[in-house]
Symmetry: C3
């Protein structure tokens, strides 16, 4: 592995003699894990500690010295110390002169400090080349770095040579470096590992809230109602029948919710006659979570599809069908084949399947690797054109399904409209508004506005 190290940082020939030596400040868990990994990859590791004598549990083969001694022995110093202890760096400014100091620290809260740890460190040792790296890799991942998610190391610095050197070390440890640009990005880099699906929060809350409401709504109309009025126990519906009502409704509503902000935006721009005014905050947020809303809607659609396909293997259904047949025979009558029913049922099944198909297509194009391989124009085409096609198909699916219910108030239990009717309110509104907006007169105006034209002026577009 010696060759490995002697080739470590080709960018800086002056490092030649020392380059396979790395120094690590801090003998805590992360420092030890990092040193452990470094030794495995063929580096020689020197620890810098406040009181070297008491430092324990260090990986075998590592040396421990005082901070200044350790720093003097290497060109690259990894700082695995908590920000609160950075103070001692002020004393080291001389020995760190022109050296690469890698800040691997993480905070406990997002935006815990006004400036990032790395920038703070850079202020303490202005003479050193501070690089932010490794904070995205956990100590655990360093020791058993097998999971994909743990392989990415964001690196940023104001000194590109130092950045390259660190990126080479990252590669040598079998990890994947990602250049994040200047140290200004370090705050973002430090916040990154603390996040837990921030963009998913809002959409998930919205989805969950609506789902709970719809579920209770259906429990009332399907279970409690029949329990009260007909004294019939239909509680078993809670397992499959009701979810299979809630899921499609949710899916359709969420799908429609994706296209509302776009419509609102268009209306606002039409009204203001310009695109150079910021949208209201809530609209911006809404726009930002369209993708997540879409994926949640897709999962509901998927669940609806499976729940529907299992219908015929359900005990309840089989039992009903057979008893239905038996009664036909007992009564010695046959329900004749009705062409219109055949048409309607097959039609809504077909619409549902096609809608689902395009749904899945939208889902696939929102995979990072796919959406990165299409250009802006193609992405817009898929997300807006195909998106609306999906919405139309699914709405049609629901309309045909609830065909004769909408107005037959016999279906209304306790004056509550069937879920299916409810689900159509939002999508229909969206589609109507969209239809109005794509009328030539309005459409032309919106296009002009989006190209930079303004009511107030006549500034054309350059590009």
């Amino acid at each position: 592995m010696e060759t490995n190290c002697s080739n470590m940082t080709p960018l800086s020939p002056d490092f030649a003699e020392k380059e396979n030596v790395v120094c690590i400040f801090g003998t805590g868990d992360y420092g030890r894990s990092l040193g452990f990994k470094m030794l495995q990859s063929g580096f020689s590791v020197i620890y810098g500690s406040r009181n070297p004598s008491s430092a324990s549990l260090l990986p075998t083969g590592a040396e421990v010295l005082s901070h200044s001694e350790a720093a003097s022995k290497s060109h690259i110093i990894f700082v695995a110390v908590q920000r609160d202890h950075y103070s001692f760096f002020t004393k080291l400014s001389k020995v760190l002169q022109g050296k690469i100091v890698v800040d691997v620290s993480n905070n406990f809260k997002i935006n815990q400090y006004s400036e990032s740890n790395a920038e703070y460190l850079a202020q303490l040792v202005p003479a050193a080349k501070v690089v932010k790296a490794f904070n995205t890799v956990s100590a655990w991942a360093l020791q058993s770095g097998t999971l994909d998610a743990s392989k990415q190391v964001f690196v940023c610095s104001n000194d590109s040579k130092a950045k390259q050197a660190v990126m080479n070390i990252v590669r040598a440890l079998g990890l994947t470096p990602h250049d994040q640009g200047s140290l200004a990005a370090s705050k973002e880099v430090e916040n990154y590992p603390l996040q837990l699906f921030p963009t998913w929060r809002l959409p998930l809350y919205i989805g969950a809230g609506l789902t709970v409401f719809m579920f209770l709504y259906c429990v009332i109309t399907d279970v409690i109602y029949s329990a009260v009025t007909e004294k019939k126990d239909a509680s078993f519906r809670i397992a499959v029948s009701i979810p299979n009502k809630v899921f499609p409704v949710m899916s359709l509503i969420l799908l429609a919710l994706i296209y509302i902000p776009g419509v609102f935006a268009a209306i606002i721009q039409l009204y203001r006659g310009t695109k150079y005014k910021r949208f209201p905050h809530w609209l911006d947020r809404w726009m930002l979570c369209r993708k997540q809303l879409g994926l949640i809607a897709l999962s509901y659609a998927l669940l609806h599809a499976i729940y529907t396909l299992v219908i015929p293997i359900r005990y309840y259904v089989r039992n009903r069908i057979s008893s239905n047949i038996i009664t036909q025979i007992r009564k010695n009558e046959t329900s004749p084949f009705d062409n219109t029913i055949a048409w309607r049922t097959d039609a809504y099944i077909a619409l549902g399947i096609l809608g689902f198909f395009f749904y899945v297509l939208l889902g696939i194009t929102s995979l990072p690797s796919v959406s990165n391989s299409v250009n802006w124009r193609e992405f817009r085409f898929v997300q807006s054109k195909l998106g609306y096609l999906t919405l139309v198909l699914c709405t049609g699916h629901a309309v045909l399904f609830g065909w004769d219910w909408f107005l037959s108030f016999s279906k209304y239990k306790w004056y509550l409209p069937p879920a299916c009717t409810l689900s159509l309110v939002v999508p229909c509104t969206v589609l109507v508004l969209k239809l109005i907006l794509i009328m030539p007169c309005l459409d032309r105006r919106i296009t002009k506005i989006r190209q930079g034209w303004e009511k107030s002026s006549a500034a054309g577009t350059k590009i």
Copy 2:
């Protein structure tokens, strides 16, 4: 955000004092959107305009000067002007001396000009370091840059320092830079955002054409025929029954079409006895759209799967089954359980499912991120070995399905063979040809040829 800027272009220390100042030529829509975004990210923006006085609607905080004045105030000049107006650059060659000039322009047609806008600009201001960038990001995306597809910025230039500086700005704007190499790539970069699934055109046309044909074919045999001969209205079949005939047929045919070019190529190479002659153009094109053909075939397979699974919940089917049972009882007879039928039906169902499974597997491996994570050998293994396995399974599925039809001419309506029979022509041909080609004698020869051996000579292979 000042820190942000003061760290912007670490690569070029000489920029230090001016680096947070960017200059934008052109006050059109794109220029304004770009300036808007720049200001948001903490840059100070100076516009260069033909007549600064009349320039309107500029983002607040931006300055407007004449071209030369503006250029003199910054080291990086973004050119948001249409190519037709580039002429004025000739006058600026002195002030642009050694500065970074970023061409963000796009054309309206692919290959509109012989040389790319960036190369044209580079000829006008030879003293400047021309960088091509940002043309893949729309003005709209700059203002609400939330969609994945809009985050990618292709950057190319002959000056690597200039390229790095621009890439840092790209990162500072929260976008993802992609190094595309030298300015020679600028033409490709300029064409990129104008494309709309160019590689998908041909496959989609082929797919659509065949589908329409098959659909009409089935309408004739299933609807019109029974309408004419039996005076029975089977029009409802158009919704589900017929699509579920067309989809599997299409899927099988398209799947087979993927493997034809490979077979042809082998035959041609065998005949020519060399691999160093170009294939006929049509064969090259065909080979280039195999992936797309495969994904279309996969979607048809998926649709077929779902359409098949909904069969039992169709009104038509339920009605038929129950009436069938009722008649059995009326006639007081029972259709006995037939083991062979059970075998055959279960067998083709099983083959179909397994075929579909490998189909999906192929689809997944063609996802960019997956196919990039496998090496050439693994990719070939999956695409050719698993591909042929899928073809065999699906063909078997069709054969067992149409078992006793093929020869029973009673099934032929107006002498038209059933769709299922038609669908088997292509795949069977492919499989037979393949079988012949993998016979040891031929296989050995092809391998030799592919390793560089030629009939005419005896040149061995070095690698």
Copy 3:
């Protein structure tokens, strides 16, 4: 295309006059294919050969000279010669002085030689800047470079300028360069194209082995047993019924197998009281193939889902149902609707569907592009939290399914418990162990240990 070349290697101005000339050592297949591609991309190609006179089949437009002559004419030399012939380089050390020598060679076996070909070459010509590249691209792919998998070129070198120059050439050929760091990585780069799913071997063997066993087990209990005891031919079950027993069982067992190593690891760490001791080798290997095991388990789950959904369209099932109805009528009795059965069946169907849904979610997050876009914390959350949720749901699904069987020994054929019962052993064990491990007292201790605490000492954690 001249412009293309004159812009090729901007990094090294001194190349200016020669830069569109590349030299290729070796006139074998790969050399020829490479030259072919180079010429297409507008380079002028000069071949270096042992005896130029006899070199044949070279692409038209290429020149052939002796090694030294050819090398003297270009700054970049591609070495398409087998390692065994590298000896002649010793003679060329002078002419290669300071030039870029690109090693494109591959071996026939993984780790065929102690040091990589590129490192070996670097020792032979210390004066040259050796770059490893192109070995991941096959000759075939160079000529018809259409498949995604063939577009990636790993580049590594100790000289960053040389690396950049080669990466620009790679881009100019329409391929995607990947910086792999220093030449120390060349061994890995050379092994890469020789691999065939190394990480999949073990999991596939385990999966296959268990599957065969389960299949035979079910054949005995379902086919042979009834053939022997009841003289009934149930062989048709082999096509669908039995697979649909084997798949869910396999899926559940494999899913459980994923979480065993984690549990073991925790127990071992608890026992040892430290995390700084290596795990036994077998445990490490097991941990490394969890992802693959999971994907195999997912495919089984998918197959199980489809096999289950086709149940109602099976001839066997339809026949059984109708005869069942007919007998009911003949006997003039009706099987009454049983609420508890309805509950149980619907419940296990629902659990199964939800379990499958999260299964799919896990599968999606293991796509490279997705797992790269989440951070370590999010990945852990999905893989462990959602993973266990999936395990619980699927186990519940199986428990409810085999509800009254477990203890009804009437179901035991030849004292063999039903497959479903078998399948529950492993998952239940895992869940019980996990339950014990997450008891506060133990959990706290494990957390401490994972943060670096050790029984022996009292070293706290710094980060």
